[in-house]
């Protein structure tokens, strides 16, 4: 091995195992060549200096990181907390049930909303619009025509209006499901506040 080859091999064989035949050959050359020995010394020195720059981390500092991570995990997912840290409101079962309830309420709300907006056209339009049930009309003729909401002045006496007490839109399910969603949101907000505490 001549000097030029040795110069090329030094960076390549720097961390080769001592048993590597090329490295053995290189070391043999270095032993007899002061120039290559100086080059090798630079490599050794730079490596030693790099090792001196190695950062030693104290156990306390590392443990602080550990605690920080575990606290963050438990803060953001309290249901993962072992033992007494768990509360009834944060168990997996409770969360599953709550999700199920919310899903049910939303399903009822959506289906009723779609039904009433897309498919349902009230048969009795006047009743639906005014909430007033037509009553009998004493008039001159026996022919009966619907009068609401049109303001026809056909003559005769009109009986007092009778207001239908029941809901004009029988959308109980929609109201109920909205109530359910509101309740679920309220529960989730309370749960989140509890977690932050």
């Amino acid at each position: 091995m001549n000097c030029r080859e040795a110069q090329d091999f030094i960076p390549l064989l720097w961390d080769a195992p001592p048993t590597d035949p090329k490295r053995i050959e290189l070391e043999r050359h270095i032993a007899g060549c002061s120039y290559c020995a100086a080059e090798w010394a630079i490599w050794q020195e730079s490596n030693e200096l790099m090792q001196d720059l190695r950062m030693e981390i104290s156990a306390e500092r590392a443990e602080a990181v550990n605690q920080k991570v575990m606290e963050r995990i438990y803060l953001e997912s309290p249901w993962l907390m072992p033992g007494d840290g768990k509360s009834a409101g944060s168990t997996t079962m409770f969360r599953r049930r709550l999700s199920l309830w919310i899903a049910c309420f939303l399903a009822v709300f959506l289906s009723s909303f779609l039904y009433f907006t897309l498919f349902k056209t009230p048969a009795n339009t006047s009743s639906a619009q005014s909430g007033i049930i037509e009553s009998g009309v004493a008039g001159l003729t026996l022919e009966w025509t619907s009068s609401y909401p049109a303001t026809e002045s056909g003559g005769g006496i009109i009986e007092p209006l009778v207001v239908n007490i029941g809901p004009t839109h029988p959308q109980y399910w929609m109201v109920l499901s909205m109530l359910g969603v509101a309740l679920s949101i309220f529960l989730l907000t309370r749960l989140n506040r509890y977690r932050r505490q």
Partner: protein, 195 residues
């Protein structure tokens, strides 16, 4: 208990065991993050980034498959990505390791002038490492400080083994180049010219 067994138990819901898993790597990862960073307020950021790394690892633990990489390699990959993303954010405030307040301890029983010279050389090496391109720096840190083999470094850097060898070659050459002027004496240079 091996890492795989611990991970299995954690996946089954024994979250508290994650603390034990972290304990095995926290010092190494923290040191790696320190070496990778060269920004101001380094200590604070390093610890934050280290905890961010472990937190991300916990969140993605369900997707970790040991057939692809060892847990240690996977963790280093997350740490590197976390540091890189932070460095990208704070590219403006570059401060060297020395300015961060970190002062390496000089070896005991060294003459003052020798200690001063060594400190000067250490600064050169530190500066040389800081100035290396990111991949070279990562490869060098993983090899020199974490004693990783080429294959592991290749997985972390998402490079081939031959690329890793090349990265290390270039990184070491750059560091050595910084020191060269402090080493060569006139007679050695003359001899080199003769060669």
């Amino acid at each position: 208990m091996t890492d795989s067994q611990l991970i299995q138990l954690i996946k089954q819901g024994n979250t508290e065991l994650y603390s034990e898993l972290m304990r095995r790597y926290q010092r190494k990862i923290l040191a790696f993050v320190y070496h990778m960073l060269k920004n101001s307020h380094m200590e604070l950021i390093a610890e934050d980034l280290c905890s961010e790394t472990f937190y991300k690892a916990f969140r993605s633990l369900h997707s970790f498959r040991e057939v692809d990489a060892s847990f240690s390699t996977w963790l280093y990959t997350i740490a590197r990505n976390t540091v890189l993303s932070e460095l990208r954010k704070n590219r403006a405030g570059n401060v060297s390791l020395e300015e961060s307040g970190y002062t390496p301890v000089a070896p005991a029983e060294v003459a003052p002038e020798q200690a001063a010279l060594r400190k000067e050389r250490m600064n050169l090496v530190r500066e040389a490492i800081n100035n290396l391109p990111e991949k070279q720096r990562s490869a060098l840190i993983l090899r020199e400080y974490d004693q990783m083999d080429y294959q592991e470094i290749a997985v972390i850097l998402d490079q081939s083994v031959s690329s890793v060898k090349s990265l290390l070659f270039r990184a070491r050459s750059s560091v050595k180049l910084q020191l060269e002027s402090y080493f060569y004496e006139p007679e050695v240079e003359e001899q080199a010219e003769r060669v």
